[in-house]
Subunit: 267 residues, 2 copies
């Protein structure tokens, strides 16, 4: 019997976001026949699958957890049903699986066993944040979480700023919602006044908020960040001036505007 | 009159891909009332907008081009209709706008003028490739195009490999379809045998092909790449062994399997 396929299923970026509004028809159609899922958290995954719609009734679905606490030795048993011929889905708590979550270990094991991997289109907070930032989208890096220890955090932010200048790239990081304000304050303390900082929270939700400003602007405005899932982006000013005829050269977003803060309402 | 909003509209990754199958309902609903668009290429944008469906008839839509040849001095006139109160859409040739295309200049100008920027959910070749790679999704970088000159290309690939090892990150690059094979051959020549290389082409299309292997495996298999839009990903082996209980530590994808090549068929 040939092996099944591993479908990579993006999920909405908030519990109130309806999968049938934020996933395309092709993705919903790929989820529908599946009855085996590897998930980060079974409870939230069930709520998602109920809303997305599966052919099999909810109680007939088999869900196994793969979290940051799962030892690598358990990956083979998660892959076993797929090797036995059953299609399976991988999903994370929010957004694209295997990006900024533990799912990549299962994808790697699938490749190593010759299992076909099928990524599906859907929400990704990192891409939405990068698109919305107006910062350099030609070169960027995602650096995960920054350290929580105050001194290490400042040092790490300065290192990321140097990297941004060196490679002329946007750097994205994420933080646990209740630490958003602490990260913002550390960034204001650590980074150069001309460095641009974006904070995008609750992306794709009604409460979406995207703020882009220089560090000098952030300092002057003394904004309070929501305790909501957020992506932070920073871009250090580059040494080279933008060349003529190069529309991709960024004109130091926010530099000409001391404060600009917008809230976006969407259906 | 308050300014309009700038909607960031992802587009399908291939001309045969139906927008109504690969864009979610919320994104299609956001496009529908728009009649002003900033696009990379007016001809392909019209075909997309016809298939996506706009309330206004196609001939009533106003399309202005923003390409790599557009000088920064022309950005204000592209933003002017939005500042005058009209909602506008920004779209690129394929995938997420303002990521790996010239659109970020307009987004930056929008922020600088206080215009609300609304990113929409849709296809992104970079995210699909990263998800599907099984390579490190906790830290990654997109480095754009590699140089076409042979010596510079080898040097750049080695530099990216050093960077991958140093920051323990996956590096993504893109190439013009007809140079895919040349880039693969350069990678085989430049990179260490244990480095992992992914090539994902025609993502989300029926001809989708995702291959992940070590450089040693690529060398042995002598595969021919399709002349199709592709994302290349590389990950150098890291010095540290994976720690116990850390499911996110990658088990050198492909290392245990000399060749694994899959084609994926999707509706």
């Amino acid at each position: 019997m040939p092996a099944g396929r591993l479908w990579l299923i993006p999920t909405p970026l908030g519990a109130d976001s309806d999968p049938r509004r934020v996933l395309p028809a092709d993705t919903l159609a790929a989820i529908e026949p599946l009855d085996y899922f590897v998930v980060e958290n079974a409870k939230t995954a069930r709520a998602f699958l109920k809303a997305a719609g599966t052919r099999a009734p909810l109680q007939a679905l088999e869900l196994r957890e793969l979290s940051e606490h799962t030892p690598p030795s358990r990956i083979p048993e998660l892959l076993a049903p797929i090797l036995a011929g059953r299609d399976g889905g991988l999903l994370s708590e929010a957004g694209a699986p295997a990006v900024a979550d533990p799912g990549a270990a299962l994808v790697a094991a699938a490749h190593a066993s010759g299992v076909t991997v099928c990524p599906l289109i859907g929400p990704s907070a990192l891409v939405l944040a990068l698109m919305a930032s107006g910062l350099n989208g030609q070169r960027f890096a995602f650096a995960g979480y920054v350290p929580t220890h105050a001194t290490e955090r400042l040092e790490r932010l300065r290192e990321l700023e140097r990297r941004s200048a060196r490679y002329d790239e946007t750097i994205l990081v994420i933080e646990t919602p209740y630490r958003n304000q602490a990260l913002l304050e550390a960034a204001i303390q650590a980074l150069a006044p001309a460095t641009c900082l974006m904070v995008a929270s609750d992306l794709s939700l009604a409460s979406q908020r995207i703020v882009v400003d220089t560090i000098a602007g952030w300092r002057a405005a003394a904004r309070e960040l929501p305790k909501a899932p957020a992506v932070f982006g920073l871009q250090a000013p580059t040494a080279q001036p933008p060349s003529r005829g190069d529309a991709s050269a960024r004109a130091a977003p926010g530099a000409s505007s001391p404060h600009h803060e917008r809230r976006t309402r969407r259906r």
